[in-house]
Symmetry: C2
Subunit: 428 residues, 2 copies
């Protein structure tokens, strides 16, 4: 794979730790066969014969991971934002997702979604589809062709939702999921399947039990939702009266981190017991600040999760979130953490810019393995940022330019290059 060996030159930034940003001005990022071999102020002798792509004064950062996004909800992002979660699902989400039984509509919608995701700052994403097989397979095929690296889930739901979106029963849901796994496992190198029970309320116990078995059979990762909204939590308690907490429902069926690498979106109102469970099981939190604001859910206690050593990444949660930009997601994560500090608990220091950057790159990236850094041995995902359209009279250093880009990406920023696994993604 000689063509995936090269050197990128520019102002290179990546997280060494949560609190420390490595900055190398006019540095060299070495990529050998898709893997980073580190960042250097001068090219080491052993790499002297690699081709150098010089990005001049631009910034080069690791690619970002969107740890929670609903592809079928992309068409209605930014609409109907005046409802809370459960009402919003019934009024907007379920009717829209029902349309994906129509493959023609699904193809039209997913083409736009994948093209826009490709142009975004996300190099990796963990994605919800719908219950529909043909639509979900089309989504995976398009994503695979995009060159982005993704996990994609065919959704399971066999109760408590609109008829048009409910699978007949657990058996049908499980058979359909097994068929999907036979069809897609190993078929695409970039788009891999992930088990996706929508959320506890829409999954019967037999379905959850069957999914636990499928998980073992295929060794799959798992994604779902957890403790997003107060009414939702109460509902889960009513539906699963034996459960010690919401997360315990997933845990009971082997879908909560221990057996399977698991990411749970939101975790806004997790109880102490649930936090302990997440910590012990190494469950990932996909923090979706914009969505939690839009749906009036609240603010997730991310400082608490970081202090507990729980793995955390960021998610846009389209269409609970309206913006597909991970830059915006970082800015929102910092913003809501400040309001958390001001309004809820002054023991919980707000996130710094360095921490938000860590979450968007290394934090979420680690769900994919060694991803989200430029350290030696990491899969090379990179973004080249052109901030010349964000004008200022002031002289800025590289770190200031990066911070400003995070806040102002959509007001004059431009992605000038994007690499996934050492492969360049064509942006135009």
């Amino acid at each position: 794979m000689r063509e995936h060996s090269f050197i990128l030159k520019g102002n290179i930034c990546y997280s060494e730790t949560k609190n420390h940003l490595s900055v190398t001005e006019q540095g060299y990022l070495v990529c050998c066969e898709g893997i980073s071999r580190g960042v250097y102020p001068v090219i080491p002798d052993e790499y002297r014969n690699l081709p150098v792509k010089d990005y001049g004064d631009r910034l080069i950062i690791p690619g970002m991971t969107d740890l929670h996004i609903h592809a079928p909800q992309y068409p209605f992002r930014g609409i109907g934002m005046d409802l809370e979660l459960l009402e919003w699902l019934n009024t907007h989400t379920f009717p829209e997702e029902s349309r994906y039984s129509d493959l023609e509509y699904a193809e039209k919608a997913y083409r736009i979604f994948v093209e826009d995701l490709k142009k975004s700052g996300s190099t990796r994403a963990v994605i919800f589809g719908t219950i529909h097989l043909p639509a979900t397979e089309f989504l995976m095929k398009q994503l695979d062709a995009s060159g982005l690296s993704t996990y994609v889930g065919k959704v399971n739901m066999d109760q408590n939702c609109t008829d048009a979106l409910r699978e007949t029963d657990a058996l049908e849901s499980l058979e359909s999921t097994a068929a999907w796994l036979r069809e897609t496992s190993g078929k695409y190198s970039n788009a891999r399947p992930i088990l996706t029970p929508r959320f506890a309320p829409t999954c019967s116990e037999p379905l959850l039990e069957g999914l636990g078995k499928l998980q073992k059979e295929y060794g799959l990762p798992v994604q779902s939702h957890l403790s997003e909204n107060l009414s939702e939590i109460q509902w889960v308690q009513e539906l699963f009266p034996w459960s010690a907490c919401y997360g315990n429902v997933y845990e009971h069926y082997g879908l909560f981190g221990k057996e399977a690498k698991t990411v749970m979106a939101h975790c806004v109102h997790s109880s102490d017991l649930e936090v302990e469970l997440m910590k012990n099981n190494g469950v990932y939190v996909a923090h979706c600040p914009q969505s939690n604001t839009n749906l009036s859910s609240g603010i997730a206690p991310i400082r608490r999760y970081l202090d507990a050593g729980i793995p955390v990444g960021l998610g846009t949660d389209i269409a609970g979130g309206t913006n597909m930009s991970m830059f915006r997601c970082m800015a929102d994560a910092v913003g809501v953490s400040k309001l958390y500090w001001r309004l809820i608990d002054q023991e919980k220091k707000p996130l710094t810019m360095e921490e938000a950057f860590y979450l968007a790159t290394r934090g979420g990236g680690s769900f994919f393995g060694k991803v989200g850094s430029f350290e030696n041995g990491y899969e090379l995902d990179a973004l080249v940022l052109d901030d010349s359209g964000i004008r200022t009279a002031k002289e800025l250093n590289t770190k200031e330019r990066l911070e400003r880009y995070i806040y102002l990406a959509e007001e004059g920023g431009r992605l000038a290059g994007k690499y996934v696994n050492g492969r360049e993604i064509l942006l135009s």
Copy 2:
């Protein structure tokens, strides 16, 4: 002024009331000599001879008013967002504003500011300058030439700030302000002066007293800051121990609504007494949601102000706020109001999209007179929105397109036309 008489055709939206959006698809907006004569489904006979500019399927909305923005802070927006107000002022703001004693720097910085404001969705703005006369006059000249309609303030501050930014004493501050007023009052038709004590802590009592006199002499409006941050409020109480509340300091010197049309930025932590004073005096609140989040100030109780009948508009508060987009400002106003409801007071319903739109157009516009609506008799400020770059597979109605544009203006939206007082602003 025949050239300012015309008809715009498109999908026209404006606020009839706080809760009702008027939508006329493929309607005609009639402008006679800069004044709106209303929106019609077909052109009334009396206007048949006016030229029609057909904007096809695009949206046409009233221009927006940015009720609080600091022009000299534009160069460092998006940088150093990890501090609270008072520390942020000393670390970032005051040193940067000191640079405007250098007219060369000021010209470079203000040119960029005015060009970007011109390209934004703001047709009106109420703007802070610095203490510096030549810089502030240059800013006014540039703004006037832009065609935007603005109030601009030379800042007063004679205590409690870095030496480089402190006027020698009250006398010097007042003489300099009087000189500025003699120089600029009536000189520019689009850029008008507004009295601008920075905030109570940086103004001595003799200065405030003198400003009250200047206000009467020139009949000027007033802008300042109020109850943004808890430490700030405590400091004001220490500096002005006789005051019943922060707002009472301005009121005592005739700078709080009764004698002068007044806008106060923030009002995040106003006491009951202060709210009563604002209400009785008709003081405008410039609600700056992004800034209040960035500086960890909190969330202003806008529902309370609306219920009390206090006039409210929106401000970007560059550089406490990072984005100059009033679309973003609307989305943020809705977002933080949801967190206010969730985290502080569930009696205070979140702002709706219609209400945020009202605040950005009519609410803030009324500070300029009959501005912010297309009703008969309003000064005609209009924006033409091209949302074709925000792609979707879904069919949307006009109201949905507008809501989506508010949330996604920076992700594919494009301003296709801008009018102030019936004059077209050239955007490229």
